[in-house]
């Protein structure tokens, strides 16, 4: 470790400090800054050359001056990891926030993490029952998946995330999930909501929290999720835990990324976000999965709020390009008073096919799910038409679909915050019951053999 302290700052710009130095500094090396009043700040090297070093300062550059002392710590950012992380609350830089002792490290893990060799991955295919019908039937989640919640401000994404955290389990297994929760720039109120709920259900003892709140340093948000994922990897791949990582709000993370890009005067990509944002996000989202020869797994639930409810905004857009589907929360359904207001049409689980069907959920699951989609999509589209031409212009099939859309929202989507529906009786049987509102001849997505077996009024019994 080079102990030398430099006082060679030439420029300070936004969260960046530029300095000249005498000895070689490593790319991504961790930096400590000592202000004249003794305050300490931390940073990381973003660019290094013989003449100039650029450091990003996590706590912001307030009060930094040319006399500030800069020390290079000779290593990249590492998190002390151990099983003792479970049950702890840490701040956005990985220091205890719960008044407890420092983490006794079993290992010091590089927080950037290394890419999982694609050859070494195991295909995720174990169905996780969340007890929420919209998700279990239509966007089924599997262990090791990364499935974000695309929401917007004022919508109950936190309730949904918590409900998932409480209810998620593998059918027919009692291994529990350990929750790693990562807050990035959320309000103290939102945070308290999470903590109180986790406390109420006793889940806090089985969780590790990394917390950067709205009034914590913005640049620090760039490392908080990496700390959380580093902890998750350690727990999953060294200690066989099944880890559920919930991080919120990715939008705040991306804002911080944009801020750094702007300070570096980089050529911006779409809407001012850095051109490398896709890769940057992928380096986190791809830290989900299962690997050969390890028992544990990492399942990710990133939450992001879509600016202006716009799904084509770069933050949801680039996320959607990396994650294995998305759960989209709808303002319209929320305003109708439906909880959970999940719009299943733009929602998707790409790993669903691997996780459902005979021996996993039920043999008719795929067929039922396709039919629910088709009927609901048809019904919703007709709502627009009816608004123009009235119901009289509709034929029998259309009338049934139209009515089905309402029933689907009211009885299938809607459930209470503590209602935990089982996949077979709770969700799939309910779906069949609701589908009786449509003549079977219009149920073209259902295989005849499932109609014969499961249709409440048409089955051969």
């Amino acid at each position: 470790m080079s102990g030398k302290e430099y006082r060679t700052i030439t420029d300070v710009k936004g969260p960046l400090v530029f300095l000249e130095k005498t000895e070689p500094v490593a790319y991504n090396e961790i930096v400590q800054l000592r202000l004249s009043d003794g305050t300490m700040k931390n940073g990381q090297v973003l660019d290094t050359s013989d003449d100039k070093v650029i450091v990003q300062v996590f706590e912001g550059t307030e009060s930094v001056d040319r006399q500030t002392g800069v020390k290079f710590l000779g290593d990249v950012f590492r998190l002390p990891v151990s099983k003792g992380l479970i049950g702890r609350i840490l701040d956005g830089a990985g220091k205890p926030r719960d008044g407890g002792p420092e983490i006794v490290a079993e290992d010091m893990a590089d927080i950037i993490g290394a890419a999982i060799n694609p050859y070494s991955r195991e295909s995720p295919e174990q169905f996780i029952q969340t007890g929420i019908s919209a998700i279990d039937a239509c966007t089924s989640l599997v262990r090791g998946q990364k499935l974000p919640i695309f929401s917007a401000s004022g919508l109950p994404h936190n309730d949904i995330a918590l409900q998932i955290a409480r209810q998620a389990r593998l059918v027919g297994s009692d291994d529990d999930f350990v929750v790693v929760f990562c807050a990035m720039g959320i309000t103290a109120e939102e945070y308290n909501f999470f903590v109180q709920d986790l406390e109420r259900t006793g889940a806090l003892e089985n969780a590790a929290l990394f917390v950067n709140l709205a009034d914590d340093p913005a640049v620090e948000r760039l490392i908080t999720p990496r700390l959380a994922l580093t902890a998750a990897e350690y727990l999953a791949f060294e200690h066989d835990y099944h880890v559920l990582v919930i991080y919120t709000d990715m939008t705040n993370y991306c804002e911080s990324l944009r801020q750094i890009g702007a300070a570096r005067e980089e050529v911006p990509g779409r809407r001012g976000y850095p051109g490398y944002m896709y890769t940057d996000l992928a380096m986190m989202y791809e830290r989900a999965g299962m690997v050969k020869g390890k028992k544990g797994s990492i399942t990710q639930f990133p939450i992001l709020t879509m600016p202006g409810d716009d799904i084509t905004h770069p933050i949801p857009d680039l996320s959607g390009y990396i994650t294995e589907g998305q759960i989209v929360i709808s303002r319209e359904l929320h305003q109708k008073g439906i909880y959970p207001p999940i719009n299943v049409l733009p929602s998707l689980s790409r790993l669903m096919n691997a996780g459902i069907g005979e021996g996993k959920t039920r043999e008719d699951h795929k067929s039922v799910s396709d039919q629910l989609y088709a009927a609901y999509a048809g019904g919703r589209e007709l709502r627009g038409l009816v608004a123009i031409v009235g119901e009289d212009a509709l034929n029998e099939r259309d009338l049934q679909l139209l009515k089905f859309a309402d029933i689907f929202e009211d009885q299938f989507l809607r459930q209470s915050r503590d209602e935990d529906r089982s996949i077979d009786e709770g969700t799939l049987d309910l779906a069949w019951n609701l589908l009786t509102n449509i003549d079977t001849k219009y149920l073209v997505r259902l295989d005849q053999k499932w109609i014969d077996k499961y249709h409440p009024t048409e089955k051969n019994s």
Partner: protein, 580 residues
């Protein structure tokens, strides 16, 4: 300090600047104390700018940079098939052996096993006059693929000696009279296209078993196609379907900056799937390149070149090769990231000004050729494009569409309705049908092109009618137009929709596709007749045999049964007239 080695001056992400060294452009160099692999991408005064293929954290200015004298090349020879490589041809299996499940850095791995022995069967003999590309023998590399051993481009002469037997790939199997030793392995720089005798016009379709592709928007062997689409619309599923079912002899699948799990899926599934054309495991004809989104961007940039060079090599053996690149947008973004680190003047949306020429050069490496050895070979290239927000007015989509001859436009609206493949039949196009029509007439049915035209014009008419329906509802249309809508719905739901995850529906023989299209036209014709004879629209639409005909496609043996099902439907439609 010698010319051969210098020092790191600056590190900025994947871009490292060195001084005190004068390498050639695109030369491979070793960077830092750990000897990370990099490639020279710019010479600038006394500085050499290098893109590094591995993570650069912890590297310092002042560490060494060493020349290798080589440009970035791939090793070509027996052993390529069934392999999965990273972007710079390191076998991921070897990386797992040396590093475990996480990819760390500073480890080299040969693209081919240099010690493994293969049975070489000489087909040329001493005294034969050979030149670059001449086939001198083969190795049965997998059950289905004969790996031809060729004279590397640039060599020629008379064979002095040649020997069959078991050899490793670097041992000479043939000596030319001028003393040149020929081994089974050759190397080729990835950024240089491999030579051929001449390009020929593609006139044979690449049959994919995907109805909307084969029937409406076909790709020719040696052709180029682009699949742009928003996230979740079906680019990867379509590419994987082509990798599974297309009638290419060799498949090169490049996962470029996409998901790790998608590569795992191919890896775990392909060994268990059978090629419908050979009946043997699909893995036997496949090579994969996986440089996922979280792997180094510089290697992502290289991955596309690594893949296409391997494809050209198999083409040179006289094979039809299909190459999928998923996604070319991630490749373009890698170029953008590196270009921005070089502080180059950005073009549109921050992409480098040379984006469109790089895209063009890449797709130009597709084609049907007469090989140097005199055979007929082809490389078909299918590139996925991931436009931000699904809006194809952006540079990568536009740059691609200017070059490719087939456009399969994925549509978020269709995907949302679970209409898969979500390829928009109104905006998509193929410029190949004219060149392919003779082939269809000779091999499938003499009226194939006419049937296709009828089907696509029905879809056009439907789109026009839909506009009216949006305003007045369908009941307001005259009966014949309402029938047209039903026929079009049948085209969409029975023919265009195809479930990639259904054991049977996933693949449709071209002959069956034609039968299905004919069945739709028969439904139209007979319904018109019945309705003229007094039957109602509901009557003809609801004949049970039509549902049977449509559902039948999900069952094995459909090709054998469709005639009978069609006969039954015709009979029932005719009866609707008598009932009235």
């Amino acid at each position: 300090m010698s010319e051969e080695s210098g020092l790191i001056y600056r590190i900025s992400g994947p871009v490292v600047t060195a001084v005190g060294i004068s390498p050639r452009m695109y030369e491979v160099v070793r960077v830092g104390d750990e000897g990370l692999m990099g490639e020279v991408i710019e010479l600038h005064g006394d500085q050499s700018v290098i893109q590094v293929y591995e993570e650069t954290s912890g590297i310092k200015p002042g560490e060494p940079v060493v020349r290798t004298g080589q440009t970035l090349s791939v090793k070509l020879g027996p052993g390529l098939l069934t392999q999965i490589y990273d972007g710079i041809q390191r076998p991921l299996e070897s990386l797992e052996e040396t590093m475990g499940v996480f990819i760390t850095r500073g480890v080299d791995a040969d693209g081919l096993d240099l010690t493994k022995k293969w049975e070489f069967n000489a087909t040329a003999s001493a005294g034969d006059e050979v030149s670059g590309g001449s086939v001198i023998g083969f190795v049965q590399e997998t059950e289905t693929v004969e790996h031809k051993i060729m004279i590397p481009p640039g060599h020629s002469g008379k064979i002095a000696s040649i020997e069959s037997g078991e050899f490793d790939i670097t041992t000479s199997v043939c000596t030319l009279e001028d003393g040149t030793e020929i081994a089974m392995m050759q190397e080729w720089p990835v950024r240089t296209p491999r030579p051929f005798k001449q390009k020929n016009a593609p006139d044979v379709p690449l049959i994919t078993g995907q109805r909307i592709l084969d029937f409406l928007f076909p790709l020719a062997k040696g052709g180029t196609a682009g699949i742009p689409g928003p996230f979740g619309a079906g680019k990867t599923v379509t590419q994987q379907q082509l990798a599974r079912w297309s009638d290419a002899q060799i498949v090169v699948y490049i996962g470029c900056g996409e998901r790790g799990n998608e590569m795992t899926e191919v890896l775990t599934e392909f060994p268990h799937l059978t090629d419908p054309n050979t009946g043997k495991p699909l893995m036997n004809r496949t090579t994969m390149i996986a440089n996922t989104s979280n792997m180094p961007v510089a290697a992502r940039e290289a991955s596309v070149y690594t893949g296409i060079t391997i494809a050209e090599y198999f083409r040179d053996m006289g094979y039809d090769v299909a190459l999928m690149a998923d996604s070319t947008s991630r490749w373009a973004e890698a170029m953008r990231e590196i270009s921005s680190r070089l502080e180059e003047m950005p073009g549109e949306e921050g992409y480098p000004a040379y984006l469109s020429s790089r895209l063009a050069e890449f797709y130009e490496r597709a084609g049907r050729v007469q090989t140097l050895g005199g055979d007929d070979g082809s490389v078909s290239v299918i590139g996925a494009v991931s436009p931000p927000g699904g809006d194809i007015s952006e540079p990568v989509s536009q740059g691609t569409l200017r070059i490719v001859k087939v456009f399969w436009g994925l549509d978020a609206g269709l995907a949302r309705q679970r209409h898969f493949p979500a390829i928009n039949w109104l905006s998509s196009y193929s410029l190949y049908p004219q060149a392919l029509d003779q082939w269809y007439r000779d091999n499938i049915a003499s009226d194939f092109p006419e049937v296709r035209t009828k089907i696509s014009s029905l879809l056009q008419v439907e789109a026009e009618l839909q506009e009216i329906v949006q305003l007045v509802g369908s009941d307001a249309l005259p009966m014949d137009q309402q029938l047209t809508l039903e026929v079009a719905r049948m085209i969409r739901e029975f023919f265009l929709q195809q479930n990639a995850f259904h054991d049977v529906d996933t693949f449709s023989q071209l002959g069956l596709q034609y039968e299905m299209a004919k069945a739709i036209l028969a439904f139209q014709e007979e319904s018109e007749k019945a309705m003229a004879g007094g039957a109602g629209l509901e009557d003809v639409v609801n004949v049970p045999a039509r549902t049977d005909l449509m559902r039948g496609r999900f069952e094995e043996g459909y090709a054998e049964r469709i005639g009978e099902l069609l006969g039954e439907m015709s009979k029932q439609i005719a009866e609707t007239m008598e009932d009235n």
